[in-house]
């Protein structure tokens, strides 16, 4: 045929612009890039995350929508902890031991609304920090478990400190051995001596209200305060000198298992004692006094009741003033005394000399109670945990001490609300800056602790999609905004220039289908295995994600994913894309729980057994569902001049041979909605013997086949047209490498005159 041949290879991505770019397509649905040919391959699907759990979706069968999902990889991927939220419960997947199960980490949580961002996760060190804007932030330690081996308890702790520690309670110091039970709860304990020399002690009624110490000779150089003299009564019953007092106050703080120190408590009551003095043991009946000169020049020891901390506390620190004399003689400056390295003992004997107190206690502002209990977003940047102030304080940013995500200084916060831009809608740390997403702007944090600086990056781009922001290596940060997908690349230091650019223009029509109110529930992830960025959002008025867009890094081209029920998204250490079902057990297929995007084509669904050998009628089993429908619709070809009428005679698909499953084609002319079906073709080489196929060959005989690049010709019969388009839509496997159109263009045939009124 003396026609022109018009080739399109390699194939590009979707272009919804008018006119369309060369090699672009109008629609590419459910395809991935075929690495060997750089063509489009539809051999994708999804399967259960736990593929070995028999004929059910166990242990997820009863779960509804998965609201959020985070796969926390530790030890170079040797441990992967799957943490997810569903129905108001935060779970982890117990993926080891004799049976797989989902275990609740936190219950009675608020289920996020359709327009509210679900939980935000930030791993740091041994812990995973989770906030969701409504409930108590959670710190999860994964491993090792607490409790017994047979019934372990998940290591879940509070984030930060919910309150100040209670003040410690010092016991009184009793300096006169003659005083007995009326000083209940007190006992004289003193230094610079030995027990034998303090014989009067032995006459005391010891019972449970008293505590004492066995004396160690090494303690002779210790004790509180100075060695003040005792006071002797003169014969006339008076004292020559005034009473000599010693007094102290105490504070405590807690240390948790993440190394964070709590705020210090309020000061204890004053513990005050006077030096021993003569005692008139028979007042009014003569001058009978007793006096123990050996009690002069002693130091003293204080018994201190200390509070136990919340779960996760592993030590308590004790601080004390130096000698305050009568309680007012000196300023209350607190110094470190000691650390109790457990959370069980409640009594501490303080024998530290004042001259051994060196280290100052933290001041009140060094560590405060957790500043934002309703934080919605969190991220780790420069070793600090960044959180927002919650919906009631939505422009505030708080950051923790570096290395201690539970310790917040009172002065470590900033408010971005002084600029237009709306509330904070998410964080993302990248390179040497932290992006702060806001409703109508994007800010960033740079610098180092404690000198973080917050600056605006863009005041024209904003988003509420907190979970649709990722880092793509070598490309930068990619995120879904209200009006498209943006990439931020470059840096802020060393002369680098940062640039923010919209890259979703080719799929503008698809983006416009997005339900912007439901953007906070949009989810995205980047997979280094697939070299794809996936983003799923609610479209066409849906209240939950029902449409996906995929950026293929190999081609820097877009495609679309349909009928992948993605509600929450994360990737494993190996780059497999794991998603939580968007509907769960109530879905039409009964699919529930976690799934992985893989090469599996037939997706499982629940079905009742009607009659099958070995199965009970009515039993629920999993059966194969249909594979995802893949659709490739070419661009509208005008062949350079739409004024000229053309006759397209054939479409040649360049594809890899695939067997006997047919590939149907429909073709269209001149932007028409309804097309004409061409005879379906089998992806076999037309002029060669058929390659063997499953169901009819024996794999142990002969050669293994290979896929061959071939052309399948589809005849077109539609008369002349200005623009031409074709579409293949199939659930069968196809690898599309390119195509060619063969056409003739009769001279002189032009489009007709424009329509008149």
């Amino acid at each position: 045929m003396k026609g022109k041949r018009f080739e399109q290879t390699p194939l590009g991505g979707v272009s919804e612009l008018i006119p369309q770019a060369d090699k672009a397509a109008t629609e590419i649905v459910n395809f991935t890039v075929h690495n060997q040919t750089s063509g489009w391959d539809n051999r994708i699907g999804y399967e259960r995350y736990l593929s070995s759990t028999g004929g059910t979706f166990a242990p997820f069968d009863s779960l509804g929508r998965i609201d959020s999902l985070f796969i926390w990889s530790r030890h170079q991927g040797a441990q992967q902890w799957v943490v997810f939220e569903s129905g108001g419960t935060l779970y982890y997947l117990k993926d080891y031991g004799s049976s797989r199960a989902i275990e609740a980490l936190d219950v009675l949580r608020t289920t996020p609304t359709a327009t509210e961002a679900p939980a935000s996760y930030a791993p740091y060190g041994r812990f995973l920090y989770t906030v969701n804007g409504n409930d108590k932030p959670v710190r999860y330690g994964a491993w090792p478990h607490g409790g017994s081996i047979t019934s372990p308890t998940a290591p879940v702790y509070d984030v930060g400190w919910a309150s100040l520690p209670p003040s410690p309670t010092p016991w009184g110091v009793h300096t006169r051995p003659e005083d007995g039970a009326q000083f209940g709860g007190s006992i004289a304990i003193w230094a610079r001596g030995n027990q034998q020399s303090l014989a009067p002690l032995s006459g005391f009624p010891f019972n449970l209200t008293y505590r004492t110490l066995d004396w160690e000779s090494a303690w002779n150089a210790i004790g509180l305060g100075d060695e003040k003299p005792s006071r002797k009564m003169a014969e006339d019953g008076t004292f020559a000198v005034a009473q000599i007092f010693s007094s102290y106050r105490y504070k405590v703080s807690f240390i948790n298992n993440a190394g964070s120190e709590s705020p210090v408590s309020q000061a204890s009551g004053l513990v005050v004692w006077s030096q021993p003095e003569s005692l008139n043991i028979a007042p009014g009946e003569g001058d009978v006094t007793v006096y123990h000169p050996e009690f002069g020049g002693k130091r003293w020891i204080v018994g201190l009741e200390i509070p136990a901390g919340p779960v996760g506390t592993i030590a308590r620190k004790i601080y004390r003033t130096k000698d305050l004399g009568d309680g007012t003689e000196a300023a209350e400056v607190y110094y470190y005394v000691g650390q109790v390295t457990n959370n069980t003992e409640t009594f501490y004997f303080d024998n530290l000399g004042d001259n051994q107190q060196i280290t100052l206690a933290p001041v009140d502002g060094d560590s405060t109670i957790f500043p934002a209990t309703s934080a919605r977003f969190c991220s780790i940047f420069k070793d600090c945990l960044f959180i927002d102030g919650g919906s009631s304080n939505e422009t505030a940013v708080f950051w923790s001490n570096p290395g201690f995500p539970d310790t917040f200084r009172a002065t470590d916060y900033a408010d971005v609300g002084t600029r237009e831009g709306g509330g904070i809608t998410g964080f993302h740390a990248h390179y040497n800056y932290l992006l702060i997403l806001r409703q109508r702007s994007v800010d960033y944090v740079s610098g180092n602790y404690p000198d973080f600086r917050i600056s605006p990056l863009s005041q024209s781009v904003g988003t509420t999609a907190a979970n649709a922001i990722n880092t793509i290596p070598d490309l930068g940060v990619i995120f879904l905004a209200n009006d498209g997908v943006y990439v931020v690349h470059g840096g802020f230091e060393g002369g680098a220039v940062v640039e923010i650019k919209r890259i979703s223009d080719p799929i503008m029509k698809t983006i416009e289908r997005m339900n912007k109110d439901a953007l906070p529930r949009a989810v995205a992830c980047y997979s280094h295995k697939w070299k794809e960025w996936h983003c799923y959002f609610a479209a066409d008025g849906h209240d939950r994600p029902n449409l996906g867009i995929v950026l293929h890094l190999d081609k820097m081209a877009w495609s679309v994913r349909e009928n992948f029920p993605v509600g929450a998204l994360s990737t494993t250490f190996d780059g497999d894309i794991v998603f939580g079902h968007v509907e769960g057990q109530t879905s039409e297929t009964g699919q529930a729980g976690l799934f992985v995007i893989t090469g599996r084509r037939t997706l499982s669904k629940k079905a009742e057994v009607s009659s099958e050998a070995g199965k009970q009628q009515g039993q629920i089993v999993l059966v194969d569902n249909v594979a995802p429908i893949a659709r490739y619709r070419s661009k509208w070809h005008d062949f350079g001049d739409p004024n000229k009428k053309k006759k397209v005679h054939f479409v040649y698909l360049y594809a890899l041979t695939g067997g006997d499953n047919t590939i149907p084609m429909t073709y269209f002319k001149d932007y028409d909605y309804v097309g004409t079906a061409a005879p379906a073709a089998r992806p076999q080489m037309p002029d060669a013997p058929d390659q063997g196929i499953y169901d009819s060959i024996k794999t142990d005989l002969g050669l293994w086949e290979e896929e061959r690049l071939t052309e399948f010709r589809y005849p077109i019969s539609q008369g002349s047209c200005s623009n031409f388009q074709f579409e293949i839509q199939t659930t069968n496997d196809v690898v599309l490498v390119g195509y060619a159109l063969e056409l003739t263009s009769p001279e002189g045939t032009k489009i007709v005159q424009g329509k008149r009124v």
Binding site: R43, G45, E47, Y49, S51, S52, G77, A78, Q79, Q80, D95, Y96, S98, S99, R100, T572, F573, D574, D576, V596, T598, G599, R600, R601, T602, T657, G658, G659, D660, N661, Q691, G692, I693, Y694, D695, I697, T699, W704, E705, E706, E707, N732, D733
Partner: protein, 209 residues
Amino acid sequence: MAKRWTEREQRSKNLPTADGFNREYDSLRGWANAGVDRTSLPVSAITPPMVQQNAFCKVFVEDVEFGAPSRGGSADDPQFYGLTYEKYFGGFYPAVEVSLAGLHEGMMHLEFKCWVALLKVDDQMNPQFVEFRLKYNGQTVCEGGPCYMAATNYFLVCDFPIAGGDGTVAIEYRVAAPIDSTHATAVSSTDVPVMYYGGGQLLAIGRWR
């Protein structure tokens, strides 16, 4: 915890291509071969008959006999060492060492049992006791309390993590010395048996990670 999911699925009427088959088969093979991973195996996928002996553990059973201290002696030749001797050698006396070769990193389970019979009191009516302990590569891993029974069975059981390589379990004992009626702290000159020992056996199970 590398999981393996379907890389490629061979479908009815498709070409049985080598590449496609490999990708599907490799995934399956990975489950049972190099990538064997207890978390990706179906529950109860491996049953005991499938596993080579000693693949996951190694068991040692050793009879432990030693020259049991039975009699007092003289000051020059005390025969054995007791707590209250003037010639005090540090309490525990190494009785016997058992070598455990070819261990891997994992957990070690030790069980030691024996029977002992004591001269329950000496001639001063002071109570007598015996005490055993186990050491693994020089570190005490299990120490029993003093046992005052006249005749009893003695058990020590412990579990602890070990590194790979060879190990040595040392069994040590101490026993109260007989006290001479005339010399409270001297070696007894009476030739009276103070302890009988027998039936010693050490069970060691190394369980690998």
